[in-house]
């Protein structure tokens, strides 16, 4: 219903077909209500248009569309471009067609600053070209999952939206290097880009981007398997302001790339190198030497990392808040010991599949300051050496909200019960069946469908 409001060109087009008596009646009613409501309605008398407009400016897309259906006067006000500076269709409706986007662009014009079309799969190049042409001041555009768009969209954006700051074309699998070349030519102010899962993008595109957009702060390229060391080197050389970099699954990246990043981009705060399996401790050492502001490090699946790397890291990166060390299979209790000493702000720590971790390591972790004040999430699933003895230490972690213990086979149900008595609000994830069984079978069956009785 509300999307129809957007799709219509002008509110008057609504009452054109009066070929039946019903629609005639409707027509009369609308005319009647128009004279009653529009100008003379109490609310419109009391509130001047400027104030109404101001109120509307605080509403979201859904409410605006509803207001637009109240009366003709409200329709004009609610659909005024000034209210439409930020549009996010993702939480609203994603199965929109091209004409909707074109109407939005005509209505918003130069007012539009932020638009998110995440997941709008049917949107194509044509309507996005109209968008770029009408709305030259877009700063933030999210096209994640708009699978039909091609390089032509990026070219339109580059041509008309010179002020673009943030671009997300994740999962747009047809786009290629030409897109990044166009963006680098036209949008020199770009600070944030997401090209995750774009299989068509290679090192050439990233190099062009690095040359053209030196203000880049955030670079996210998950799952770009064709990303190379050379591309990252280039990025490190030209975009020294980088703070966020995500290379999840770019498994051709070598040490050299990360070392260069660490040396040039000293303000790095967020680094994700998950599943880059060629990397070794040298990366961690380089990051430790140069990037003191690091607060998030995700290195799941970097199985060559050892205690040496994390020792270096814990000596300098004291601001660390989140660490994902899943499947760093060589790390031992010594890493935990150093992390406990060096990273007092640690909130989230994942040690899944780190099979050498023992109760001793947990003891070190639990006695540190980070544990007692900050540590909220601890993932220990598939750490086979962990026993109930760990819980004696973990009871000191007063802030602990979630602990993962899947497949830790030395953990018993009683151990968990004991932990719960000390930390009543903790959320324990294990394969044990729920402690309190669902209400007695006779009653609960009634809630199920008839077939569930079979189970």
């Amino acid at each position: 219903m509300t999307m129809e409001t957007l799709a219509r060109d002008a509110p008057s087009s609504m009452h054109h077909h009066n070929n039946s008596s019903v629609s005639n009646m409707k027509h009369n009613y609308v005319q009647l209500s128009k004279t009653c409501l529009d100008e003379d309605a109490q609310i419109n008398k009391k509130l001047p248009k400027e104030l109404l407009l101001r109120i509307f400016s605080y509403l979201d897309v859904v409410s605006l569309c509803r207001c637009a259906q109240v009366s003709r006067a409200w329709n004009v006000l609610a659909l005024d471009g000034s209210n439409w500076q930020k549009i996010d269709l993702f939480d609203f409706q994603t199965d929109v067609e091209g004409p909707v986007i074109e109407n939005i662009s005509r209505r918003c014009g130069g007012f539009l600053r932020q638009i998110s079309l995440r997941g709008c799969q049917s949107v194509g190049d044509g309507s996005l070209k109209t968008l770029a042409q009408c709305c030259n001041y877009i700063e933030y555009i999210n096209l994640n999952g708009c699978k039909r768009i091609t390089d032509s969209t990026s070219q339109s954006l580059s041509q008309y939206c010179k002020k673009l700051l943030s671009l997300d074309i994740g999962s747009c699998s047809i786009v290629s290097d030409l897109s990044l070349k166009a963006i680098s030519d036209g949008c020199p102010n770009l600070t944030s880009v997401n090209i995750s899962w774009c299989d068509g993008i290679t090192e050439n595109g990233v190099e062009a981007l690095a040359h053209g957009c030196p203000k880049l702060k955030s670079f996210i390229s998950k799952g770009c398997t064709r990303m190379t060391t050379r591309a990252i080197n280039c990025l490190a050389q030209h975009c020294v302001k980088l703070e966020v970099i995500n290379l999840h699954g770019c498994n051709n990246i070598e040490d050299e790339a990360v070392i260069k990043l660490a040396n040039n981009c000293n303000s790095l705060k967020y680094v994700c190198l998950a599943n880059c399996s060629l990397l070794t401790d040298n990366c961690l050492v380089a990051l430790a030497e140069q990037c003191y502001q690091l607060n998030t490090l995700e290195v799941a699946g970097c199985s060559q990392f050892t205690d040496i790397g994390f020792l270096a890291l814990s000596k300098t990166c004291h601001l660390m808040e989140k660490m994902d060390l899943e499947e760093c299979v060589f790390i031992t209790d010594s890493t935990l010991f150093h992390l406990a000493m060096g990273c007092p702000r640690l909130e989230y720590l994942s040690l899944s599949h780190c099979e050498l971790i023992t109760d001793e390591g947990i003891k070190h972790l639990s006695t540190s300051t980070c544990a007692s004040e900050h540590l909220a999430v601890l993932e220990l699933d598939n750490c086979p050496l962990i026993t109930d003895a760990s819980f004696d230490h973990l009871i000191n972690c007063h802030n602990l909200q979630r602990i993962m213990l899947y497949d830790c086979q030395l953990i018993t149900r009683n151990g968990i019960k004991r932990l719960r008595t000390h930390l009543p609000n903790i959320n324990v994830h294990a394969y044990f069946a729920p402690v309190t069984p669902p209400p007695s079978t006779g009653n609960s069956r009634k809630h199920y469908c008839r077939c569930c009785a079979i189970l």
Binding site: D91, Y406, C408, Y431, A433, Y448, C451, C452, I454, L455
Partner: protein, 354 residues
């Protein structure tokens, strides 16, 4: 939310199941593994392309997926296709009788989130767990007839017949499985695949020998036989030994009355029925007291009389049945008596038992 807190492992278990189902195209079967006590290890067991789930978690996992899916269905929650698929996979593996869940999957197929060929594979796995579920066969037919619509390739048809036969093997008197096979055969007849009937006729003959009380299979053969005797295009693919059988059944006089040169097709159809009649007699001789065999015999007599309605054939049939009934009276007393009564009332063939 309450459920998530109660058993947070559920989401992990269903994700693990989904991963296995989607990553292993050779997955053969799914079943429950009896394990009343829960241990802190994954209840999902995956060996040799076979998937198992320990029984202790079934009730908790099903409760979780059921409630989540119903919330999604009632549109209380914004649907995310990936999550829905994961939940549906576990829900349907555990309980394939819920039409709503299959319908949700149908919607996902229409929206191209699920691939029809992978769905056929998934169905086959569910069928290994619950071979008699009509919902699975319905869904399978929907995929075949409304999504794929392609019956030109013999592989598709053969695959369906194999799946049907496997399900029939796994559950006695599996009417749904045989019915599914027959639907597929009907469809492929529309595409001119006439050899199929003859082929199925031969295959199920062997199968019947091994499952003498499976009336569903007999009924399937009856439906095949109807096609064979009414459609010349079907019977021509059958290796027949009509002449020998006719010789055994009729004496030369009767044969002359029956056989006019232009009607060798009739001879052939009678040959098929007679072949089945003698086959049925052999089975009755070997296995005593199986109602399905006697019922099948009724059908054969009925067909014989109705296809070729002359007094001559009734006479021959009477003599033959008299012999059979007398020979097998001992051991099959109740069925023989019922059979004789039936012959008399429905076909007007009266037999005096000695």
């Amino acid at each position: 939310m309450e459920i998530d807190d109660n058993f947070p492992a559920a989401i992990r278990i269903v994700t693990e199941i989904q991963n296995i189902v989607s990553k292993d195209p050779k997955l053969k079967e799914f079943d429950l593994v009896i394990q009343p006590e829960s241990q802190n290890k994954s209840p999902v067991i995956y060996i040799d392309h076979c998937l198992g789930l320990e029984s202790w978690c079934v009730r908790h996992v099903y409760r979780y997926v059921y409630q989540r899916l119903i919330t999604i269905r009632k549109r209380l929650k914004r649907p995310v296709s990936n999550e829905t698929i994961t939940l549906l996979t576990s829900a349907l593996l555990l309980n394939p009788e819920v039409t709503t869940f299959w319908n949700m999957r149908r919607e996902l197929v229409i929206d191209e989130y699920l691939k029809p060929n992978e769905e056929l594979r998934f169905c086959a796995v569910v069928l290994k767990f619950k071979p008699k579920s009509a919902e699975i066969f319905n869904y399978r037919r929907w995929i075949l007839f409304h999504v794929l619509k392609d019956f030109s390739s013999n592989d598709v048809v053969q695959n369906e017949l194999t799946v049907g036969l496997t399900a029939a093997n796994d559950y006695p008197s599996n009417y749904n499985a045989w019915n599914h096979c027959f639907c597929v055969i009907q469809r492929s007849l529309d595409h001119g695949n006439f050899a199929l009937i003859a082929q199925q006729w031969e295959i199920t003959k062997v199968w019947c020998c091994e499952h003498v009380s499976d009336h569903s299979c007999m009924q399937y053969r009856q439906r095949l036989l109807k096609y064979l005797v009414t459609d010349k295009r079907c019977i021509q693919h059958l290796k027949s030994c009509a002449s020998k059988l006719l010789l055994r059944f009729f004496n030369s006089d009767e044969r002359h009355k029956l056989m006019r040169p232009s009607e060798d097709y009739i001879g052939e159809t009678i040959g098929v029925i007679l072949d089945e009649l003698y086959f049925n007699e052999d089975l009755i001789a070997m296995y005593q007291n199986h109602e399905s065999l006697w019922n099948h015999r009724r059908f054969l007599c009925y067909l014989l009389v109705n296809i070729y309605s002359t007094d001559c054939i009734k006479e021959v049939l009477m003599n033959n049945e008299k012999r059979v009934c007398t020979n097998f009276l001992k051991g099959n007393e109740m069925f023989v008596k019922k059979y004789v009564l039936w012959l008399q009332t429905k076909l007007c063939i009266s037999i005096q038992l000695l």
